[in-house]
């Protein structure tokens, strides 16, 4: 069984993290991998924290739920408090810079990044923070190819927002580069 990647994307409802999860999974399919996406539903998804989970694998995926993520993303403090502590020891944690992380958190990489600020200041719309985050995740981890990610984004976004989303993606990649220096 080849290694399978488990990702958990969390934030508040309306931040587009479920869309981001679907895009990531669809990008994986374009790379000829398998992917499964699940999400939180109901009151949980409306108030407080919502999450999308994605599993990406070269093989078929049996159990569809994430058990111990290799990568987690949180865009709000509430989501972070709820979901960030489950992470594999060799995993990567990415949170917005506004978030305070518990000192006890253990992971191979922990990044606090100005995701939302970048979306607001450099792209001009907070709503594309999810796409900035996707650029960041893929720039840091390479879990899908950049070509597949862009194609998957373009297939899911509303018509007329292509340039905005391309810019957001670019800013995400740039954030990743600054972190890797």
């Amino acid at each position: 069984m080849s290694k399978q990647l488990e990702l958990r994307l969390s934030g508040s409802g309306g931040q587009g993290l479920i869309t981001a999860g679907i895009i990531l999974a669809e990008a994986a399919l374009k790379d000829d991998k398998n992917a499964i996406q699940t999400q939180s539903y109901g009151p949980e998804a409306r108030g407080g924290a919502s999450k999308a989970e994605v599993i990406i694998s070269e093989d078929s995926i049996d159990f569809p739920k994430v058990t111990l993520p290799n990568m987690t993303l949180a865009l709000t403090q509430i989501a972070s408090d709820k979901y960030i502590k489950d992470i594999s020891v060799d995993g990567t944690v990415i949170v917005d810079e506004s978030i305070t992380l518990p000192e006890t958190l253990k992971a191979k990489h922990i990044y606090r990044v100005p995701i939302i600020k970048t979306a607001i200041n450099e792209v001009g719309k907070e709503i594309v923070a999810n796409i900035v985050a996707l650029g960041l995740i893929v720039g840091l981890t390479g879990i899908v190819t950049e070509g597949s990610l862009e194609a998957a984004i373009m297939a899911r976004i509303p018509k007329g927002t292509e340039d905005l989303n391309r810019l957001a993606l670019q800013k995400g990649y740039e954030l990743a580069k600054t972190l890797q220096k």
Binding site: M1, I22, A25, E26, L29, N34, A35, I36, Q37, T38, Q39, S40, Y41, G42, E44, I61, D62, F63, P64, K65, T67
Partner: protein, 377 residues
């Protein structure tokens, strides 16, 4: 052959399958976690000239579908636990009047309102015994998005072929997860359409002729003015108080299923050829079991999986055969042991039947199943 690769939820795949099967009518009532089926049907049906209607309640949802089916439409309704309970009377009506209809139940945690957004498998017995009186039942259970697509088509085909309601029993796990699915070309898919009487032919609405399995079914409005009733009826379709007639009708209804088990029953076996131990699981929980079998096999334990795809009628013969070979059986499901009862009934004393399950709205993880497996075996 050009294949369309899509990334869909099980609920979405259900609608894709229904449309490929020829669905032209959907009526239902919103209920979590099945609502995507209604939403997508509402969007897609008018584009092909089909009809969607949101009815005033769950009972009306199935009633309108049965009414539409009588005019020749392939009709479906979808629901979850509470709505499935409400639909039961009319499931029996469709069974007795032999009107094809597909009922999808995306199971959630019950009883009562329970856990609307969480998975459960507590409706297994209700799918068989939910309506009053003995009646034929076909119930199919997918464990993936692709299989949801395939079994929705099969549900329509079986409903048309055997003139009976067919229940597609999915769950929140497969209903809501998104997964890769290759949608086959329509030319690759086998579609069964109900047999109608020749125009102008002598027609008795409930008489089996020409070596058919079921009576031919005329569309309302096609020139055969016949009567449909939920009362016991004779071959003409009109009510009959004759106990002899009632016996003939009931025997024929039940035999439609029992005489055609090989056609109706499907199941999957994984790693059973040399298995000493057997896990029995279905629907979303089968995914847990598949992962557990792989991990246990990697440890050198000879374990296999038996997965009923048709859960009603239950795949007795195949399971019985396996039970003669294995030392132990464990049934994994999200309830307090509904299929376990059926497995015990079938395997008799061939092997002890253990149980691993819960009904708290969580999925069963492979680790939990493996732990239970090691505990009891």
């Amino acid at each position: 052959m050009a294949k369309k690769v899509k990334f869909l939820q099980g609920n979405e795949a259900c609608v894709e399958g229904a449309l490929m099967a020829g669905m032209t009518f959907y009526s239902g009532y919103p209920i979590t976690p099945s609502t995507e089926i209604a939403e997508l049907s509402a969007e897609r049906l008018p584009r092909i000239g089909g009809k969607f209607i949101q009815m005033e309640d769950e009972i009306a949802g199935i009633a309108a579908a049965i009414g539409a089916s009588l005019t020749g439409a392939k009709a479906m309704t979808a629901t979850s636990g509470p709505g499935f309970s409400l639909k039961q009377e009319n499931i029996g009506y469709a069974a007795l009047t032999e009107i094809p209809v597909v009922i999808v139940n995306v199971q959630r945690g019950g009883p009562s309102t329970g856990l609307p957004t969480a998975p459960g498998q507590g409706d297994l017995m209700q799918a068989m015994w939910g309506t009053h009186g003995d009646h034929p039942v076909i119930c199919l259970t997918p464990d993936s998005v692709r299989e949801t697509f395939d079994l929705t088509i099969r549900a329509f085909n079986l409903a048309e072929k055997y003139r009976t309601p067919v229940i597609l029993l999915t769950d929140e796990i497969t209903g809501h997860m998104r997964e890769k699915i290759e949608i086959p070309d329509a030319s690759e898919v086998e579609i069964y359409n109900r047999i109608k009487p020749e125009p102008g032919s002598d027609y008795k609405a409930y008489k089996v002729v020409d070596g058919d399995i079921v009576p031919k079914m005329a569309d309302f409005g096609s020139g055969f003015r016949y009567h449909v009733t939920g009362l016991m009826h004779d071959e003409t379709g009109f009510p009959s108080n004759s106990t002899k007639n009632a016996g003939i009708l009931m025997d024929r209804l039940m035999a439609k299923i029992t005489d055609n088990l090989d056609d109706i029953i499907t199941f999957e076996e994984i790693e059973t050829a040399d298995a000493d131990y057997l896990i029995v699981a279905y629907g979303g929980t089968a995914r847990t079991a598949k992962a557990a079998v792989k991990k246990l096999r990697a440890e050198g334990i000879k374990v296999g999986l038996f997965r009923p795809i048709t859960v009603w009628p239950f795949p007795e013969a195949a399971l019985y055969k396996l039970s003669e070979q294995v030392k132990d059986i464990i049934v994994a499901e999200l309830n307090y042991g509904q299929m376990k009862l059926e497995v015990e009934r079938v395997v008799k004393n061939n092997a002890p039947v253990r149980f691993c399950g819960k009904a708290n709205g969580e999925v069963l993880t492979p680790e939990e199943l493996i732990q239970k497996f090691k505990e009891v075996l």
